[in-house]
Symmetry: C2
Subunit: 394 residues, 2 copies
Amino acid sequence: MHSVDQAIARLLATVQPIADVEQLGIDQCCGAVLAKRLVSGVNVPPADNSAMDGYALRHDSWHHADTPIPVSQRVPAGAVAEKLAPGTAARIFTGAEIPPDADTVVIQENCSEIDGSVLIKKMPEKGANIRPRAQDVAKGQVVLEAGRRLRPQETGLLASLGMATVPACRRLRVAVLSNGSELVEPGEPVAGGQIYNSNRYLLNALLRGWGFEVMDLGIVRDDPAEIQQLLGETAGKADVIVSSGGVSVGEEDHIRNVVAGLGALELWKVSIKPGKPFAFGHVCGTPFLGLPGNPASVLVTALIVARPYLWSLQGMSNTEVQPMQVRATFSRKAPSRTEYLRVRHSPKGLEIYPSQSSGILFSSVWGNGLAVQPEGHEIHKGDTIDFLPYALLL
Amino acid sequence: MHSVDQAIARLLATVQPIADVEQLGIDQCCGAVLAKRLVSGVNVPPADNSAMDGYALRHDSWHHADTPIPVSQRVPAGAVAEKLAPGTAARIFTGAEIPPDADTVVIQENCSEIDGSVLIKKMPEKGANIRPRAQDVAKGQVVLEAGRRLRPQETGLLASLGMATVPACRRLRVAVLSNGSELVEPGEPVAGGQIYNSNRYLLNALLRGWGFEVMDLGIVRDDPAEIQQLLGETAGKADVIVSSGGVSVGEEDHIRNVVAGLGALELWKVSIKPGKPFAFGHVCGTPFLGLPGNPASVLVTALIVARPYLWSLQGMSNTEVQPMQVRATFSRKAPSRTEYLRVRHSPKGLEIYPSQSSGILFSSVWGNGLAVQPEGHEIHKGDTIDFLPYALLL
């Protein structure tokens, strides 16, 4: 039996991250993984600028509230400021460049302008209301390391450096396969013994939400010839194959033998609930992940075990997620495998869905995250336990 | 001065949610907001089925480990099971329908089959290894209320009900405008007094990440005629207009007068830092949100103030985000406005970025969320404070 950490570590040890680099437009890069370390070629902002509408001057030009100071120029945002004439002030606006030789901006609420001169009622301290050059980013600064996933704020920051394109890792191509003769697609009639296929749509949505390209292989029956043909065609076209169901030791579970025949397959027992059986191998060199068949098991193993592996393949340097510490409103006896409990974080704390069966997907629809109960650990009502909001995993 | 909650409440009071309903394919609905309450038309699973590979029988057919029981049928997953002949067992596989009159499944590890009969070494309790009909969802059950945003697990659940299409609210159409004569687009040369436009890319990425359709209006100069033409053309085509910068009381801030002339505009002071000035109104009936111009202010006001409003427009019924409670590794004196501190949640607790200036976007690149410091509240190192991971807001 592998611990969850051991299973993840074994997967990560095999990772060959995507080496293809694409130049994405700055408006298309959010969600992608940065392929190279980025060093800023510019200062942000490029020059001292005004934080407020007001008047810019040398601090030592001001002596008294009743002494008018001539206004020698007007600097709206976007204009080039001229060197400040000695003893004068510049009318200035938010975002406008500070004229050379000015060192302070007085907000307009403390000034009155009459006949081309300004009276300054209250002088702030030297340097006030100026955003200094390079306050945000300095030229030559390492802004982002390779392997960072770009969020809206990184996108904005790279734009502020003037970058029109961003070097990103090519999107990971994930083939998705639902295994089982009992499966019927939504919208079709369901006969005796059959159920609707949910794993396909769950996995497609999850993988697309992560920004991966999905090669949707649909349903494959419990038929070795069909499985072999499909997997053989897919290997080499996808970066990784993810299947749900059909990977067990039973005589109706054919994926195992087919994958082993085309490459290699290991069946792991992972100390995870829901989950436990997890298959890992390759089909003609293309990595293969075999998730369980029950929908709650698919969700949990995809989020906890497959996620760090797939993101590492995609080129992300740090795939760890830091749990939150939240108080449990429930007690629970020690499990023999580490349980990822479907819970809801509410102002009361963590509430647990009454049934934690692996067949119940509704538990995850009801809740907003997973609480971690390590094997052998009891939970007592009021204990602070690890909580992984789905938002951190999805 | 509005509190943040008051500002949000005033915005929400005006919301007319999207009324257009689209039928989205089950494979395209993730991320959308459900337009109607959904009631399940089926049981999931539709019939009792086996949780394991093994043998199904009546519990009272078994008397002794040495008494062979004839195997009368074989039920792979997807097949129709026949009524179990009295005194016999059915070979059964995971996911296969339980034959009528069988009430227990014995796992194959506890059985041996010889000459068409099975010896059961160890009989589990009655009902073992059977997943009951409707365990996940019962026919007639309200599965999801209107206004829920669909995640991968909802997508999977709706597929399991056999739904090929899902009624969703039409995607919100958001027009985005960057205001300021100092702005230059990334990739272009930057002259004296100019800076690169980052808010456009920050906002586009944020809004697209939320699944909205972005009408990108680019940069508008500080020129009333230009602003008036652009806003006039946009009203009626977008569901809402979001601008950054240029909405203040200064003589170079023209948006205010133009919007007021075409509709109405209120300038609010909101007790939020970074942020404070926030404009709300409409352009010929199309709602208008005026965010500040500094990038960190844009990020924070978009996530905290605009987010609940935009998602309510999109049809989401509950836009509240529940903060996490995390220990601060820093002390901070009481602010006069509620501060959304750019922090990093690490195993040590919450670390704060050294500069919290509204001009510094890097603080949000460095971190993974916002800590909330209410106005008038000191933070002492070791205090447990409210933390909003970006993942819950993005």
